[in-house]
């Protein structure tokens, strides 16, 4: 399964920009389109993944890793296997976004938001491909270190298991943040039963206490 970035969903980009429905105007629309094109040309999306059977104690069979926290246990309750995924837009896109900040902040904020939308798109495409490949079995949503009570430090174990740095060139900072920033790691459960979409509601979100949408009585899924 190749990393596929076919397009960058405009609605998601606007959501990351906390767009609240004002008139956008020709110039802003042009700028959005320009940034999307630039990113599509520059990004070199890559991903690495691997499927592991789950042991009864919640650890991955054949790997030295047991995902931490209660939330992931509940999330994978119905599953007998789990897919570990790491995906990135690559260093060139990262450099593009960072360099824009030095010369044109308007473009930089759009590129940053579109970059987030783009790497999510790569993950969505992967999940579609994976679902097709594993059918008739079912997939859960994606669950990432930092969600719920899974600590960010799980990132390190996940990186070792997938050999992420060597395979797709993503590294971890001292505080376990991914660089390039437009990268995602996730666990995806595999089950014989249909899985309800629960990974994306406010209840399971690590930002639920502080989310700026929630402060305004909205959610990022319905702004």
């Amino acid at each position: 399964m190749e990393a596929r970035l076919d397009r960058i969903p405009r609605a998601e980009t606007l959501q990351y920009l906390r767009y609240r429905g004002s008139e956008l105007g020709r110039e802003s629309l042009d700028e959005l389109a320009r940034c999307e094109t630039l990113l599509l040309q520059t990004a070199r999306p890559r991903l690495v993944w691997r499927l592991f059977p789950l042991s009864a104690d919640g650890s991955l069979r054949g790997a030295d890793y047991r995902p931490a926290g209660e939330d992931i246990r509940a999330f994978l309750a119905d599953c007998d296997s789990v897919v570990l995924l790491a995906a990135t837009l690559g260093a060139e896109a990262e450099a593009l976004i960072r360099r824009a900040a030095g010369r044109d902040m308007a473009q930089a904020v759009i590129l940053d938001a579109a970059g987030s939308a783009a790497v999510e798109r790569v993950c969505d495409n992967f999940c579609d491909d994976l679902a097709a490949a594993l059918a008739p079995r079912f997939l859960t949503d994606r669950f990432s270190p930092g969600y719920g009570d899974m600590p960010l430090s799980d990132q390190r174990a996940l990186f070792r298991v997938l050999d992420v740095s060597r395979r797709i060139g993503v590294t971890l900072s001292e505080s376990a943040l991914m660089i390039p920033q437009k990268s995602v790691t996730a666990l995806i459960g595999v089950s014989d039963r249909p899985q309800k979409k629960r990974g994306r509601g406010c209840e399971s979100c690590g930002m639920r206490e502080n989310c700026s949408y929630r402060k305004e009585g909205k959610s990022c899924g319905s702004f």
Binding site: G21, Y65, E92, R98, A106, I168, T171, E174, K215
Partner: protein, 784 residues
């Protein structure tokens, strides 16, 4: 010839240890201490299969990856060398290579690891490996040239062992970080490694085209250590057989590779098959003269025609630039680089010398910041050897040093630096007795510089001669002497030439005519690297035309593209902005119009009045509309950037007059330690600058000490801190505590996605800014 010309390496280590029961994700180096006999047994099988060199099992034995494993780097490395020694025992001539892999962290500017710290991580491994008795050092699987440089310097400065260096490439011909084959070759050849090439990456077949390209850039021995094809993502298994591997690998010697082995997925069977297939192989001789040039962190500028060196990063005669240097306004300097890159420069000259300034520190800072913003190779321009070395040490790539001259003490001080860091060097045709008036005298000095460089080990291709341009209005006959000297240096000495062109027209009206005409004549005489102002389109037009007439620009492609682009751009500029108000220009985000209208307003009002009565009220209106949701973030940023163009007009005018700045006060901004997200902080910064505040931007991942020191030294009364993650709000609290404890009197505002009004108060901040607009309101309250 027989296989004595080929050095056979080993195959995978991780793959083999996993087959022996090492769980995926566990640190293989631990086994050097806990199960040394298993590690040795694997290596023994490689020796038996025919390996002449075996790598120690120390790929990840660095302080970050070993943290918490219960063993020190020294123990893991010493154990690794011991295992390999035991495996090689009894086999004559089998050598043990200390294996060094990437740290797993990314160096600045994209990452958070500093060059000096990376160097120290590698130094620790090298010291342990040397002590344990390794025969050579292999640095492998690197994708970042900056990290590779740190490792090579650590190896060369802390051991006398041979150093081999290999990087990991994708089929696109670039590493994950975008490094090209040429950039790797120029940089590593310059640094004096003993062999270089590729490992990991791809299967042998896919690597062959890259080997072919590498051969054109260097005459050093080449290394190829590919994977067993490509991995199956579901299982991690590789997809080609030992026979297929060996068949493809055996094509590498004909392309010039002499040091061969296997990486991920290869086993002793692969090495045995390779040994058989290579039994009668003989590596092709390297090209007599590899391609030459210079490079930045990713991209090369080959010396294969006229290349433009941009001269604008230089304080001489530029008041605004001098002010930026004195204030440490690095962004102003970096923007001059970005502008020149956009204008078509191929290389940027960097001169930051100013009396009373710590030039080595400024050079290091400028080189680092420029490399984060532009891809172009740099020319480090200074007369202070300390500043030159400060720049070269952190420069990622192969630089040019500007300059030496015929004076012995200058040659003795600067040439060894060029040799050590692998830089090309500009030699000026002058010495103790000044500039010879006759062209023959200049050529004689050039010859002396060349001989000194060669004696120092610098290759001829890296010696560039500047025959010196004198002002034609003062010494009219000298223009012809300079051109004669250029031709002679080119034809008699076979060297490339550099020339600072603009000086020719000093003191004359319509300078551009003289400059451009002289430039064309100099190029015809053999000038390769004109140092000019690329922002002058007539200058760049002359270069574009020359490249067509001399046949360098095949089928005039670049020329046609250049003028097609100009024609397309020319049209919309014609639109008149005459009737627009300054406020409207800002609201619509039109930078050029804002600058023009600001200049117009300055004819009637003084600077402060323009700021207070026009620029700031316009920004307030934009801010209000943003708060009401009538415009969104990119529009706010666009307006702020337009206002910035207005402020720049004012700053330049004041700098020229030497007057006091219009700053409304200093504000520190920093993303706290451990946090690398800085887009929010950058947004705040743009807005604050446009309200007339001087922002001291400390960047991201900033330790509390740096914030405290800067606040005290610069006597700053408002500090803004940003943190995006719940985990890094802790370091925000630490920074606030450190500021309070220091006794420095200042207000602190905080912002970031996970913060709230309550949370901000709880960690001791004075203000919570929910967005950039609010940070400006807070600044008004605190600083006025």
């Amino acid at each position: 010839m027989d296989r004595s010309d080929i050095i056979l390496l080993d195959g995978a280590m991780g793959t083999m240890l996993q087959a022996e029961g090492l769980p995926v994700g566990q640190m293989p180096e631990l086994w050097n201490v806990t199960q040394p006999e298993t590690v040795s047994a694997v290596q023994r099988r490689y020796v038996e299969a025919g390996s002449d060199v075996i790598y120690t099992n120390t790929f990840g034995a660095n302080r970050y990856k070993a943290a918490g494993c219960g063993r020190s780097v020294k123990e893991l490395v010493a154990g690794g060398v011991r295992c390999a020694r035991a495996a090689a025992a009894g086999f004559d001539g089998v050598r043990v290579a200390l294996d060094i892999g990437p740290t797993g962290r990314l160096l600045q500017p994209l990452g958070d690891l500093g060059f000096d710290e990376a160097y120290d991580v590698f130094r620790e491994i090298v010291a342990a490996g040397v002590e344990a008795g390794a025969d050579l050092i292999v640095i492998e699987t690197m994708s970042d040239l900056a990290e590779m440089r740190a490792a090579v310097l650590a190896a060369k400065e802390n051991s006398a062992l041979p150093v081999w260096a290999t990087m990991t490439f994708e089929a696109t011909g670039r590493t994950f970080l975008g490094v090209t084959v040429g950039a790797m070759a120029l940089t590593l050849t310059g640094l004096g490694v003993d062999a270089l090439g590729f490992n990991c990456s791809l299967g042998p077949k896919e690597l062959l085209p890259l080997v072919e390209e590498l051969r054109t850039w260097t005459s050093l021995p080449l290394i190829v250590k590919p994977n067993a094809g490509l991995p199956d993502p579901a299982t991690g298994e590789y997809n080609i057989t030992p026979a297929e591997f060996a068949a493809a690998l055996s094509k590498a010697p004909a392309l010039g590779a002499a040091i061969l082995g296997g990486c991920c997925g290869t086993t002793p069977d692969f090495i045995r098959a390779a040994a058989d297939a290579l039994a009668s192989a003989c590596p092709a001789q390297p090209a007599e003269r590899p391609r030459s040039g210079v490079c930045g962190a990713s991209v090369c500028t080959a010396f294969d025609g006229v290349r433009v060196i941009g001269e604008r990063i230089n304080p001489t005669g530029k008041k605004r630039f001098q002010q930026a240097l004195r204030e440490g306004d690095i962004d102003y300097i970096v923007l001059r680089g970005v502008e020149q890159q956009d204008a078509g420069a191929d290389i940027l000259d960097v001169n930051v010398g100013l009396p009373g300034l710590d030039e080595p520190a400024m050079m290091r800072r400028t080189v680092t910041a420029l490399q984060a913003a532009v891809d172009l190779p740099l020319q480090i321009d200074s007369s202070d050897p300390k500043a030159i070395e400060a720049g070269l040490r952190v420069y990622c790539g192969k630089a040019i040093v500007n300059s030496v001259n015929g004076k012995k003490e200058v040659l003795d001080a600067v040439l060894p630096l060029c040799k050590k860091y692998g830089a090309a060097v500009v030699g000026l045709c002058m010495d103790e007795n000044g500039i010879p008036q006759d062209w023959r005298g200049r050529v004689a000095i050039a010859k002396r510089i060349l001989d000194a460089a060669l004696a120092c080990g610098i290759p001829k291709e890296d010696v560039l001669i500047d025959c010196l341009t004198l002002t034609v209005s003062a010494q009219q006959e000298q223009a012809a002497e300079t051109l004669r000297a250029v031709r002679a240096v080119k034809e008699e000495l076979g060297l490339r030439t550099v020339l600072g062109v603009s000086n020719i027209s000093f003191g004359l009206p319509a300078r551009e005519n003289i400059t451009v005409s002289f430039l064309s004549q100099a190029m015809y005489a053999g000038l390769d690297l004109p140092i000019v102002n690329p922002n002058q389109s007539a200058v760049m037009d002359a270069v574009a035309a020359f490249r067509v007439l001399s046949g360098q620009d095949r089928d005039s492609e670049d020329y046609i593209r250049r003028f097609a682009a100009t024609a397309a751009e020319a049209a919309p500029v014609a639109k008149s902005g005459a009737e627009m108000s300054l406020g409207e220009a800002i609201m619509r985000g039109l930078g050029q119009e804002t600058a023009a209208l600001t200049a117009k307003a300055l004819a009637e009002m003084d600077e402060l009045a323009v700021v207070d009565r026009l620029l700031i009220p316009a920004l307030d209106r934009v801010g209000d509309r943003y708060e009401k949701g009538e415009i969104f973030l990119p529009q706010l940023m666009k307006a702020a950037s337009a206002a910035c163009a207005g402020f720049e007009v004012i700053k330049t005018r004041i700098a020229r007059r030497g007057g006091a700045s219009v700053s409304k006060g200093k504000i520190i901004l920093a993303t706290v330690r451990g946090d690398i997200h800085d887009i929010g902080k950058n947004i705040v910064r743009v807005v604050l600058e446009n309200y007339g505040y001087t922002v001291i931007d400390l960047g991201r991942d900033v330790p509390p000490e740096t914030v405290v020191e800067t606040a005290k030294r610069e006597n700053v009364r408002l500090v803004g801190l940003s943190a995006l993650m719940t985990t890094t709000v802790t370091s925000m609290a630490e920074t606030i505590a450190a500021l309070r404890k220091s006794g420095h009197d200042c207000k602190i505002m905080v912002g970031g996605a996970v913060l709230t009004e309550d949370y901000a108060a709880q960690i001791g901040a004075d203000y919570y800014a929910k967005d950039a607009k609010q940070s400006a309101d807070i600044a008004k309250r605190v600083l006025g």
